[in-house]
Structures are given as structure tokens and as C-alpha cells.
């Protein structure tokens, strides 16, 4: 009931102090937003990965493609299981794949970098329907050609036509592909048989990916294969495979909030100090208001509002600053693989940060506002 202009103008008059106090909030909120955006981005990258119609098969006991080994017999049996969709020529939509993580040496600097290389057959394109070549062409079998995902290009700077050394031979980059922002964009694809021959892995696959007619059929297929007695494999839908990779995200989010509150302590105490000082200087104002008839509750609200305004001022700047990170692309190690993700700031993060800011303002301003409430009009004017 005490006009908003009272709280607002007092902040304006002491604008240097107001700005300084608010800046603490700016920093904290910006850092919080960046941290949450990081986690959200990682989650989004994993969520974008994996098509719900696909079922991933790995060797029994393995939950990672790198260590898994399946042979020809298992692959055939899996492909002919009931539930696997078929194409126009009645061939099963199944992709036999050899996934390897190789150490590629940068020719200019001599340092080693991880290269995720997947050997596939033409069927792969019918199973991983999100993959589209955007620059150049797909690799040709037995031609020592490799096509790289968008994220690989971002990280390495390879261009179509470049030659890279893999296992003794020089391979040519035939094209760049996109895959809907999924983990596949962090891979390079080539001919399965040529790759297997190069590294003496003929007849061994790391995984087989089966495509079902729909998401529900895929889940059923995965269930059936996982519990099959004749076929000993690990089976899961692609989407659940990638979801498992983000199990750590929950822990990271808790850590981020803990850190944010610790950082927030500084801002809270800052606003507490500022408000205590302001109230100390304005006890006469408060006394006069009380004499006029404003009640203790009005005083409390007015000062609480002032503190919250400082927090909101700083917090809004922090949100704007943190937002600058939106879309910034980095690569992170998720599970055993390296995936590109973008810092992602959505409405949820903005609202959480907003509520956090207001809460900090209220908590920081609470004690001082309470003390303002207790100013005795007569004593203050003496």
C-alpha cells in the first residue's frame, strides 16, 4: 500500500549502491543459467539421438558398442526375427555395423584425437533414416572413401576432397552428412567390409540395428530379443540406449543447484547489508509513515519489495548475459563417446532462474525488512 514509487525511487537515488548490489545477482544468475544450459544441452543431444523404431543389438553382457562383438550367425538370426520390418524387395531392414574409436593423428600438430568411425552397409541408410548427406556424396564401397558427420567437420575442419590416414591407407572425404542433431553427427561413416578388412575384423560386427514398423513394435521386438533363449544378445530400443547415457545428468543438475545456492549466498548477504544500511538511514521515514497510520505490515512489504527489485534488476541482466551462451556448440564425453551438444536455454531454465532470483531477493531482504518493521515511531523521531 506504500506506493511502489517509494521503493523504486530510493533505489534510483542510491543508484551506485543499487547497481553494485545487483551486480552480484547478475553474476550468480548468469553462471546458473550457463550451468543449466550445459546440462540441458547434453540431455537434448541424447534425446535427439536414437530413432524410436530402431532396436539396437549388442553382444550379451555389453552395454557399449566399442567392446561388443557379434558374428555372422547371430546377425542373420536377428535379421530374420519376427517383427523386423521389411522393404519392398522383402529384405529385412537391418544394419550390420562395426563401430570403432580410432586415434587419428592431426598431420599439422602431431597430436592425437579420437575419431568415431562406423563401418556400415547400404542397408544402414534405410535403418537410420535421419541421416542425410548435405555436402558432397555418400562414400562408395571399396573406394577408400569416408563421409563425416557435421559435428566432426566442426571439430576437425575437414573438407570434402581432403585425404586422411586411417590404418596405413589414405582415405578420401567424400561428403558431409547431417542426422537431425543426433549423436551420429559426431561419427564418420565408411564401407563396413573395407574397414573390417583394414583392421582384420572380417566377419565380426559390433552391433546390429533392426528397424520395426513403429515405436511400439520396436519395444516389443526389443523385449523379445532380450529374453530370447536361442539368441544371446542385449537388445534395447535406440532411444533407451541413449537415455541411459544421460543418467549422470540428474547428479550434475543437483550439483549445479548446490553451487548456485552457494554463489547466491554472496548476493543475498550483499542485499542484506545494503538494505540494513538503507533502513538505518531511513528510520525517520519509517517513523513518519507509522505515525500517519501505515502499519508494520506495509513497511515490511515496502522494504521486501525494494530488496526484491534489486535482485530482479541484477537477475534480469544475468539472464540476458547467460542467454548469450545459447546455441554455443561444444563437444562432451557422454558415456564412451564424444557427442556434440549446444548450450540450450529454454523457458524452463529461464523461469527457474527467475524464481531463484526472486527467492534470493526475498531471503536477503527478509531480515532487514523485519527490522524495519520493528522501528518504533516515537524513538526514531527523538
Amino acid at each position: 500500500m506504500i506506493p511502489l514509487s517509494y521503493s523504486y525511487r530510493n533505489l534510483r537515488v542510491r543508484w551506485k549502491t543499487t547497481l553494485m548490489t545487483a551486480s552480484a545477482f547478475t553474476l550468480v544468475v548468469a553462471a546458473l543459467v550457463v550451468m543449466l544450459a550445459f546440462i540441458r544441452g547434453v540431455e537434448a543431444a541424447c534425446a535427439a539421438s536414437g530413432e524410436p523404431e530402431n532396436v539396437l543389438l549388442l553382444a550379451k553382457g555389453d552395454n557399449d558398442e566399442v567392446m561388443s562383438r557379434l558374428d555372422h550367425v547371430v546377425a542373420s538370426q536377428a535379421e530374420n526375427t519376427r517383427g523386423v520390418a521389411r522393404d519392398a524387395a522383402n529384405q529385412p531392414l537391418a544394419s550390420r555395423e562395426l563401430f570403432m574409436v580410432l586415434q587419428h593423428q592431426d598431420e599439422k600438430t602431431g597430436s592425437y584425437r579420437f575419431l568415431q568411425l562406423r563401418g556400415v552397409l547400404p542397408a544402414a541408410f534405410r535403418v537410420h533414416t535421419v541421416v542425410h548427406v548435405t555436402v558432397g556424396q555418400a562414400f562408395r564401397p571399396s573406394q577408400s572413401e569416408v563421409m563425416i558427420g557435421k559435428a566432426v567437420q566442426r571439430e576437425t575442419g575437414f573438407q570434402v576432397g581432403d585425404q586422411i590416414e586411417i590404418g596405413r591407407k589414405r582415405w578420401r572425404i567424400s561428403g558431409v552428412f547431417e542426422a537431425n542433431g543426433s549423436a551420429l553427427e559426431s561419427e564418420a561413416w565408411t564401407d563396413l567390409n573395407e574397414l573390417a578388412g583394414q583392421f582384420r575384423r572380417e566377419g565380426a560386427y559390433s552391433s546390429v540395428v533392426l528397424r520395426a514398423r513403429g515405436a511400439r513394435e520396436a519395444e516389443e521386438l526389443a523385449e523379445r530379443l532380450a529374453h530370447s533363449r536361442s539368441l544371446r544378445v542385449e537388445a534395447m530400443t535406440e532411444t533407451s540406449y541413449y537415455q541411459k547415457q544421460t543418467e549422470g545428468a540428474g547428479v550434475m543438475r543437483t550439483a549445479a543447484w548446490v553451487i548456485a545456492w552457494f554463489m547466491g549466498v554472496g548476493a543475498m548477504f550483499g542485499v542484506m547489508n545494503t538494505m540494513f544500511a538503507a533502513i538505518g538511514q531511513r528510520t525517520k521515514d519509517i517513523a513518519v509513515l507509522r505515525i500517519m497510520g501505515f502499519e508494520a505490515g506495509h513497511i515490511l512489504l515496502a522494504f521486501l519489495l525494494e530488496a526484491t527489485l534489486i535482485a530482479v534488476l541484477g537477475g534480469s541482466l544475468g539472464l540476458a548475459l547467460g542467454y548469450a551462451a545459447n546455441g554455443f556448440t561444444q563437444s562432451a564425453a557422454i558415456g564412451a563417446r564424444q557427442i556434440d551438444f549446444s548450450f540450450r536455454i529454454d523457458a524452463g531454465i529461464l523461469s527457474f532462474a527467475g524464481v531463484f532470483t526472486i527467492l534470493m531477493g526475498v531471503l536477503g531482504g527478509g531480515l532487514p525488512a523485519l527490522s524495519a518493521m520493528r522501528v518504533k515511531p516515537l524513538e526514531a523521531l527523538r
Binding site: M1, R12, V288, R290, M292, G293, E295
Partner: protein, 259 residues
Amino acid sequence: MNPEALIRLENVAKEYVRGSERIAVLLGVSLEIAESDFVALIGPSGSGKTTLLNLIAGLDQPSSGRVFVGGEEISLLDEARLARWRTNAVGFVFQFFHLIPVLTAYENVELPLLLLKMSSARRRQQVLMALDLVGLSHRLNHRPGQMSGGEQQRVGIARALVTDPKLIVADEPTGDLDSARSQEILDLLESLQLGLRKTILMVTHDPTAAARARRVLRIEKGVIVEDRATPPAVGSSLGLRKDAIVEELPACTSLSSSS
């Protein structure tokens, strides 16, 4: 018992407890103040005059005795109810003006009205009238820092008037002003009493200020030692806006009938 008495005190006493000591500030004061009177309360420092003022204005409660203002026994009211009562019943004028520095003259005067249920149009009306009465319509949007001491005090008086209270309580209203300004303020107070029939209770240690009142109460050591009526001083000008007051009399009656 005087039926026209606005204020009545029956054997009012007040003592403070400081540690283990009990300090008696007022000792069994009984008095009546008539409506529309202009009373000055004088006495040395520590005599209890400010305490007496506070009790009458509803800022404090007596240790014993009863206080009636406008027929209501305010010594029975609790703090919250006293606050609400004060808004409508009493207007305050302070020695150091005590305007809110970040608010304009208009906003300062408007403050008490925010406690009452009133449309913003009505509020505007009241504020403009009050400021006009004290002759500061041209300073509506100025802040206290941009005004002289005399102007600030006049804003203070406008603020005291805006809810149309019956009682105006002034604590050393001229204490911080030079003699010329003091005269202006005293003229204004006098015109409020005569023109608007306000009851004015003024604490002062300045004898020239006391001379302007109609009745002077002298208090010493918690007891009223003197109580005399004073005739109006010769040649006092009845406020800068005497004409305005006479002209606005019909409008002012609407001011007084609004509460």
C-alpha cells in the same frame, strides 16, 4: 464536562521503566481542550510536554488514566486500531518537516490518503486542494530537496490537512525556521483554526509562537502549572491565503464532510 471538548484527559499519568528505575514523566494530568481551539503547550525540556502531545495524538498509551478524543476513548485502543484511528483523526506537523525525500510534494501529501478507500480521482482532488490551501500549487512536482525550509513545512501542513482531521498536532513547527518563515507558518496555522475550524495543539519553547495561540498550557515536571487564555495578537496577518480560504469556504465544507 464541556460538551464541546474535543479532547479530554482524566488523571492521565505516564512513567517509563529504564532498567530498575521508574521515571514518572506525567503525573495525573486532567484537562479538556475545546474544539477549534489553538492551544500552545510550553515548558522546559524534560517537562513532559512532548509525552503529553504523544498521548493525545494516539502515538502512545498512558500508564494510567483515560484519554478521550472526539468522544472516543483512545487509551483503550491497541496499536493497530490506533494507527487506523490516527489516519482520519490527527494531522501531524514536525519540527524537521519529515517529508519523504524521494517523493514529490504531491506524492508526500497524497500518502495518508492511500490508507483510505478512495478513488484516485478523489485523491487528486483532495491533494490539490490541500496544496492550494498552503499556497504551493506551483510546486506540485518538486522534491523536498528542491524546496526551502518554509516551503517544506507548508507541504508538511498540507499533508496534515489532506485527510481532513479534526485535530492538528504540531511539534515545534517553527523550530527549524528563521523568524520570517516562522511567522508565515504561524499565520497559516492560525488561518486553519479560524477558517477551517481545526483544533490545533502546538508544542513549542518559542514564546513568540506561543503568543499566537489562544490558550497556553505551561507544563513543568509532569504537571500543568499554568493555564491561561491569550487574546489574539495585534496585527497578525491571517495567513497568506486568507482570501483563498474565505473564497473556498463552501468547497472546504465539502472537504470536511468527506471523511
